[in-house]
């Protein structure tokens, strides 16, 4: 949950990168960490398995400057994508303010994307949050694989599978090359801040 600290004049916001396993959630945070190194005062925290898969979450705090005299502190989290870690995913969603759903463009990952999004909606409901109301951005990741001849889903197919009801903003990109990573982040931050302002009014 977003927290406004009037004493320290700061706003803390929690944004979670959600999506199927090996979809590129951690890679998004890795890219942001490298790109904004000068603004990030701490090391990225990652709780991983021995096989380098996310076990609990990755955590990256980013300061984005001041709005109306308040320091805006964005706390980025990823969830573990592997199917067996759903209990952990639920925990990481606690108090979430905005979500980036990182979907995998690879055709063979089509079912994983759909299942992961459906489970996210269910998990949000356990925290009394509604996927149709919470700030949400979709990222169709791994467009860089197109050049390697790997069969990818079209944007129309992705939209049909994931966004036909939600109708939220989406970006086609590559977390590995950084394509659309910053645009996705900027969009979710602005949507979350607008949602805060509405709540305050």
């Amino acid at each position: 949950m977003g927290f406004i600290n009037v004493k320290k004049k700061e706003v803390q916001i929690k944004i979670v990168y959600y999506g199927p396993g090996r979809g590129g959630k951690t890679t998004n945070l890795d890219y942001i960490n490298k790109k904004y190194k000068q603004r990030i005062k701490t090391e990225m925290v990652s709780i991983k398995t021995h096989g380098d898969r996310t076990l609990f979450f990755d955590f990256l705090p980013v300061d984005i400057g001041k709005i109306h005299g308040f320091d805006i502190k964005i706390q980025l989290y990823t969830v573990p994508g592997q199917v067996k870690y759903n209990a952990t995913r639920k925990l990481v969603l606690k108090g979430v303010d905005g979500i980036v759903f990182v979907a995998d463009l690879q055709r063979e990952r089509r079912d994983s994307n759909i299942k992961s999004l459906e489970q996210m909606k269910e998990n949000l409901l356990t925290h009394n949050k509604d996927a149709f109301k919470i700030p949400l951005v979709l990222q169709y990741n791994k467009i860089d694989l197109k050049d390697q001849g790997i069969p990818l889903l079209s944007v129309e197919e992705m939209e049909q599978d994931l966004n036909s009801e939600l109708k939220v903003p989406y970006f086609v990109g590559s977390a590995l090359t950084g394509d659309s990573v910053v645009e996705t982040l900027k969009k979710i931050i602005s949507m979350t801040l607008i949602s805060f302002r509405k709540e305050l009014q």
């Binding site: 949950m1 977003g2 927290f3 406004i4 600290n5 009037v6 004493k7 803390q12 929690k14 005062k41 701490t42 090391e43 925290v45 709780i47 609990f56 979450f57 955590f59 705090p61 502190k73 706390q75 989290y77 209990a87 952990t88 925990l91 990481v92 606690k94 108090g95 979430v96 303010d97 805060f196 709540e199 305050l200």
Partner: protein
């Protein structure tokens, strides 16, 4: 989203200082279950990254809480990690906030638990205002 008034935050700071730092606690942190830091006071010697600590602490507490429910417990009443030099004690203030104390060998766990119970009651009252 929520906010806490400056007066509430200052009163929490006073409580942490008078009841916990005064008995030798090195660092006392109040966080919410999402991992945001609400208040933090230390003895001036704590150099670790509080933001990351809060995120990990919230995750750790939530994981233990979920484990308790899996074995049929409402919650585990003692949540404590003992280190060689520093130990960490977690307590739940209410459904939304947690109190975490980092302390050395000069503070006994029993005494700390008594003091944290007092502090929790005080913070609950401050929170309801």
């Amino acid at each position: 989203m929520y906010n806490v008034s400056q007066e509430q935050l200052e009163t929490i700071d006073v409580t942490l200082k008078e009841d916990l730092l005064s008995i030798g606690v090195h660092c006392a942190i109040v966080i919410d279950v999402a991992g945001n830091t609400i208040a933090q006071l230390d003895d001036g010697h704590c150099t670790f990254d509080v933001t990351s600590f809060a995120a990990l602490a919230a995750g750790n507490f939530a994981a233990v809480d979920a484990m308790a429910k899996l074995v049929g417990e409402q919650q585990f009443s003692l949540h404590f990690h003992r280190g060689e030099n520093e130990s960490i004690h977690f307590s739940k203030v209410n459904e939304d906030i947690l109190l975490i104390c980092i302390f050395g060998q000069d503070v006994s766990l029993g005494f700390l638990r008594l003091k944290t119970t007092e502090v929790i009651n005080k913070i609950k009252i401050i929170w309801q205002r």
